[in-house]
Subunit: 349 residues, 2 copies
């Protein structure tokens, strides 16, 4: 609490203490190139004796490195903190960055005007790169990332206009379409014939791809509208969507929900309507996070390695920054990653 910036030892104080020039101290602090070993040692001793901490604003003018990475989740805080998906992805990112001694800065979004300030922050030279996830089609974030010139890695397949232009955005995704197909094929194998689907927001590729996987498994071009409801990736949304489906299609015998949270909401509604799970209605979720294990009955779901995806996002960014060995695609540029998804069968189906 005490002091203020003024009380910290300055570069000049270190120079005076070591009996060298300011420029020499600056060179040592910024890596020591071109400074004799005994001079370097003397400066280091003075740095330690005085407890000098180089001002990063000054240092980053020299090194053009800040040692920090911005993480932006394109969702209101309320969702960020209530959906375990984000905690898990952040954990992966955090572990990977921590191992590289990079500082993670989580930027929260809530109101429209927060975007503007975040755009300025990303363009302001405060960070070396950015990780962005849970983007929606109309999100201003990709354009901001582009304008800032910051190396950026996205979580989830890019679906925004222009995402297919070169240079292609770098991203980490999971096989959402294949995972959803497995889920619905499993329900078919169990003899279910009226299979409904609860989707996430269809302006997100993850939600869209899961709906496509549902169609693939049923081998239809379009889903029967009586069997589709939107749950917005929240538990409350799943609750509402399930009620809509039961009102519209009382004879449904299964439901595939595009997230575990929506599935747990759907189970609550089924119970309220007196339907037994899985005897009357089988339920399958997606994600395999805590809500799947806590659900009653425990949820059949599709497992994706969410923490691993977070780690990979951070690793791809480190490669872009030249801080990790490059792995390149066939065309010689760092390659995006799509991880696999796999069905986990439990009592709800």
């Amino acid at each position: 609490m005490s002091g203020g910036h003024g009380s910290r030892p300055t570069l000049e104080a270190v120079a005076a203490h070591a009996g060298v020039s300011r420029a020499t101290v600056s060179r040592v602090v910024n890596g020591g190139a071109g400074v004799r070993a005994e001079v370097r040692d003397k400066v280091q001793q003075s740095v330690e004796a005085l407890g000098y901490v180089p001002n990063s604003a000054a240092r980053s003018l020299v090194t053009r490195r800040t040692g920090a990475v911005a993480v932006v989740i394109a969702e209101p805080e309320t969702r960020v903190f209530s959906d375990p998906f984000f905690a898990q992805q952040l954990r992966g990112i955090s572990r990977e960055l921590s191992e590289r001694d990079m500082q993670l800065l989580l930027l929260l979004l809530e109101q429209r005007k927060d975007y503007e300030r975040i755009g300025r922050y990303l363009s302001g030279g405060h960070v070396d790169g950015a990780l962005m996830f849970s983007l929606h089609t109309e999100d201003p974030l990709p354009a901001m990332a582009n304008e800032s010139g910051l190396p950026t890695v996205f979580g989830g397949r890019p679906g925004w206009p222009g995402a297919d232009r070169e240079p292609r955005p770098l991203y980490v995704d999971t096989d959402n379409r294949g995972g959803a197909r497995q889920a619905v094929e499993h329900l078919l194998e169990r003899g279910r014939r009226r299979i409904a689907v609860i989707t996430g927001p269809l302006d997100q590729t993850s939600a869209l791809d899961r709906l496509h996987g549902y169609r693939d498994a049923l081998d239809v071009m379009e889903a029967d509208p009586a069997l589709v409801a939107h749950g917005g990736f929240t538990a409350e949304g799943g609750e509402r969507a399930m009620a809509e489906l039961l009102d519209r299609t009382p004879d449904l015998d299964a439901v595939f929900a595009g997230s575990d949270l929506m599935a747990s909401g759907a189970i609550r509604t089924l119970r309220a309507y007196g339907r037994r799970v899985p005897e009357d209605v089988a339920v399958v979720g997606y994600d395999d996070l805590e809500p799947a294990a806590w659900a009653d009955p425990p949820l059949t779901t599709v497992r994706q390695d969410v923490e691993g995806m977070g780690r990979m996002m951070a690793e791809l960014l480190m490669r872009r920054l030249g801080l990790a060995p490059e792995s390149r695609g066939a065309d010689g540029v760092p390659a995006s990653v799509v991880t696999s998804a796999r069905l986990v069968v439990r009592a709800s189906s």
Copy 2:
């Protein structure tokens, strides 16, 4: 994704475009003092024409302002993302900072070595101030805040060694002791006589103060050890603590848990042991966040305005930074704030 720092227009490019010196552009970008209006306009036009964004590292050397505030929660990410208390406090902070157009940077902690990096970050001139909460007695964060010279506001009454020395740490707290006393007095009024307590970590002042409030209500100097168990502020901890208490003191007829999450865990254990709530055992929690309303039966609890405390922390910091009108205590320095707590009676007692 494209470009890199090199592709952004430079100060020099703006100077050339406007036909003025580099120093003039720099002065305009940093507030325009001492520059004639028509020159300022010309530079502004060039800034816009080229899409120039001043490098904050350069600018902050001049203005000594970054426009950013660090928020550090002294808990592992797993707790930060599973306890709605933190989401709520962050929401308050985020709203207040957003109104002042300051960027919130959330720094996550997980491993011991993260502290070191965070210490360097705080000392590095990246932010104008810091907000820290959920500190433990042995936390290195207060010392780091002190060494960094950064204006800092704490959430929760400071309990670390030296916290009572001048200048006193600035903090926002709630009346934990009074709130807990109300909770236990309520149980006494309902005729309960064997009232147990489940505490949070006693190296946190919030947990300690709530235990003291329990003792105040029972009018004892020390709590009966057979009636005290530690739940670590988590639902799982509450579950375990309740089992310990029932094994040790089977005739208990009430329990006061120091958080709603611990109370919800306690209710699960009571159900598993075949005890009815509130008929056999009355339960009171603390916080009045979502878990209280979701609990079955809904939880009697102590309400504290968590979002409001977040707002106040941010506001106190803005005052310290001279960005909001000062309100000063009797001795002329900005004053810490302690908000009130109030019992909310529901079905669990």
